[in-house]
């Protein structure tokens, strides 16, 4: 059984009258790649700074391997950080930057040299040890910062939006590199980002934050397919959100009145009749059919507003005439929508399994 190596228990942060982080409970397993995702001001960097020891939590405790480390100063914690702007020491060469953590701990010269060259080789900068940070490109600096953070073999590596300053192409290759590196050194990575694509492609688990609160914790698939709140549903990719009202319940199922008509779903949250909810369905789960054709799944009459060709896929905006002017976006393979033009009366179909109930 795996033991949670890093645990936040009721940790919160308040600056004066501003509550930047509501009490949160989080666990990070050994060797896990966890992304803390949220828009700016959601409290994600505050969490990282508190784990790192740069900010003291207002309430709560941080446990590492069962020991409370919340009162330990940063230099005594077995975690290392990759800072957003890298924070490389400008007066030290790359090798000295990377070896800094070893030198201040009193590691012998030969040992420092050996481990520095080892780690520099790992990040592909073996030939840059004698350079100064200002002589390197952004991506190289990034890798120096990484090398510096992992050379002391920390139990947890904290990464504060490390890819934010890189251009798109470099970013993609750094994502792969980071993930690969994490697999090789088997260290817990806590990765902060505001980019949901980054989070989905890299993480074992994602912690979604908003307004100083944890919205949802789960694997990328769980979060994408089973968003726990309207915010999460909107934040990850495109989503169609429509309002609904609980109209009846029986035998563990509820009936919801919505612009899609009356839909029946499993009642997971024990909602009362009359409760307001939100229904979400992803554009890629919607199919568009001619009005006359038979369809096995759930379908609603709709009118085509516009068809936008996007290459391999096309986006169709549908209006639901039965429900005011509610608009729904569908994303289809282009081959499936050559027949449709604006004004066509069609059927919008999707499987009820792909409908998510949010409240």
């Amino acid at each position: 059984m795996s033991q949670a190596s890093l645990r936040l228990a009721g940790v919160s942060k308040r600056y004066g009258a501003v509550q930047v982080l509501e009490p949160v409970d989080l666990t990070f397993e050994d060797g896990e790649f966890v992304t803390v995702l949220g828009p700016s001001g959601s409290g994600k960097t505050t969490i990282l700074r508190m784990i790192g020891g740069f900010t003291a939590p207002t309430t709560g405790q941080i446990f590492f391997q069962g020991k409370d480390v919340s009162r330990l100063p940063a230099f005594q914690r077995p975690f290392n950080t990759v800072f957003q702007d890298y924070a490389l020491f400008p007066h030290m060469r790359v090798g000295q930057n990377v070896g800094y953590g070893l030198r201040v701990r009193g590691v012998g010269k030969a040992e420092v040299a050996r481990r520095v060259s080892e780690v520099l080789a790992l990040v592909g900068l073996a030939d840059k040890a004698a350079r100064y940070p200002h002589e390197l490109s952004g991506g190289q600096r990034q890798r120096v910062a990484l090398a510096r953070a992992i050379v002391c073999e920390p139990k947890v590596v904290l990464l504060d939006e490390p890819l934010a300053a890189l251009d798109a192409e470099l970013r993609r290759s750094m994502q792969d590199f980071l993930k690969e590196l994490q697999r090789r050194i088997k260290t817990t990575f806590v990765f902060i980002t505001h980019d949901q694509h980054e989070a989905i492609s890299m993480s074992d688990r994602i912690v979604v934050m908003n307004h100083g609160r944890v919205e949802q914790v789960g694997t990328p698939k769980e979060i994408y397919h089973r968003p726990g709140s309207p915010f999460v549903a909107r934040f990850f990719g495109e989503n169609n959100l429509v309002p609904g009202t609980v109209e009846g319940r029986s035998n563990g199922r509820i009936a919801i009145g919505s612009p899609f008509g009356r839909v029946e779903m499993e009642d997971r949250a024990a909602l009362g009749v009359g409760a307001n909810v939100t229904l979400a369905v992803r554009p890629e789960h919607i199919r568009v059919r001619p009005q006359t054709g038979a369809d096995a799944g759930f379908s609603v009459a709709a009118e085509v507003r516009s068809v936008d060709f996007l290459g391999a896929t096309s986006q169709i905006v549908l209006a639901l005439p039965e429900a005011g002017r509610t608009e729904v976006r569908a994303s289809l393979p282009t081959t499936e929508c050559v027949d449709f033009t604006a004004g066509d009366r069609v059927k919008m179909a999707f499987s009820l399994d792909n409908l998510t109930l949010l409240h």
Partner: protein, 306 residues
Amino acid sequence: MSAETSSPQMMGGPAGPVVLGSVERKRKPLVGRFVAGLVYGIPTVVILCPMLLFLVSSFWSIHDGNLNRHFTLENYARFFADVSYWGVYFETLRLAAYVGLFGLFSGYILAYLIWRQQGQLRYLLLLFSVIPLAMNYIVKVFAMRNILGYNGLLNDALIFAGILDKPSKMFVFNQTAVLISMCVIYLPFAILPIFLSLERIPLNLLAASADLGATAGQTFWRVVVPLSLPGSVVGALFVMVLALGDYLTPQMVGGSQGFTFGRAIWSQFGMAFNWPFGAALAVMLLLAIAVILLVARVLSKMGRSS
């Protein structure tokens, strides 16, 4: 646009906007040349020319009270031949070096303490420490004379503390008095550049250092000092240069013993009326300053690459 289209009709009218529209493009290089002329001209006229004049006049001579404008090295020969001038020259260099060193150490400690403060207190303290810069120089020297004098604050304090039985005359009208006064008067000039060089250190470098396991002391010696030292040394050398040329402080608190090279130059201009010799002495002082500034350059380069 509007000026351009209306310009043909308004050609004959009063100048103003008409000229702007049509001639603007041709004028630009002229304006550029004018600005360049100002940029290079003002320093040339105000700084370089007087210095050149000094340099030239240091090769002239005075005979029987008349200025002789023929090239001669006699002023420099006189300086190099007279050991007493050498003595004052190096004595003054040493004095200025002490003032610079005091500025470096005390200024660094004060600037560091101010830098470590949070929020408003920090800038309040900084303001207090540099307020003396806005005060009149003469007032400050007089204040120092009062503090150091026979019946001054320093003697009172030492007697009160039981260190002295009776007031001492050792604090005023000698070289020590000049040193103490200059140290106090020039300290704010050191604090400001040192504070600025500390302020330039990104705070996340300190966070990174702590994150990598460095104690506060290790962070101070391995990150803060190396990064702020070049700027601090340059600040201290600046103070040294100020102290080198100062002739008023020595005059007012130094008495007959507190003789400095600045006073020697001043006496050639103000009393002996031997301007060429005074100019030669000033050139020698300028050479010392040039050497100091060169040292500053080399030091700050070394600081950056170590």
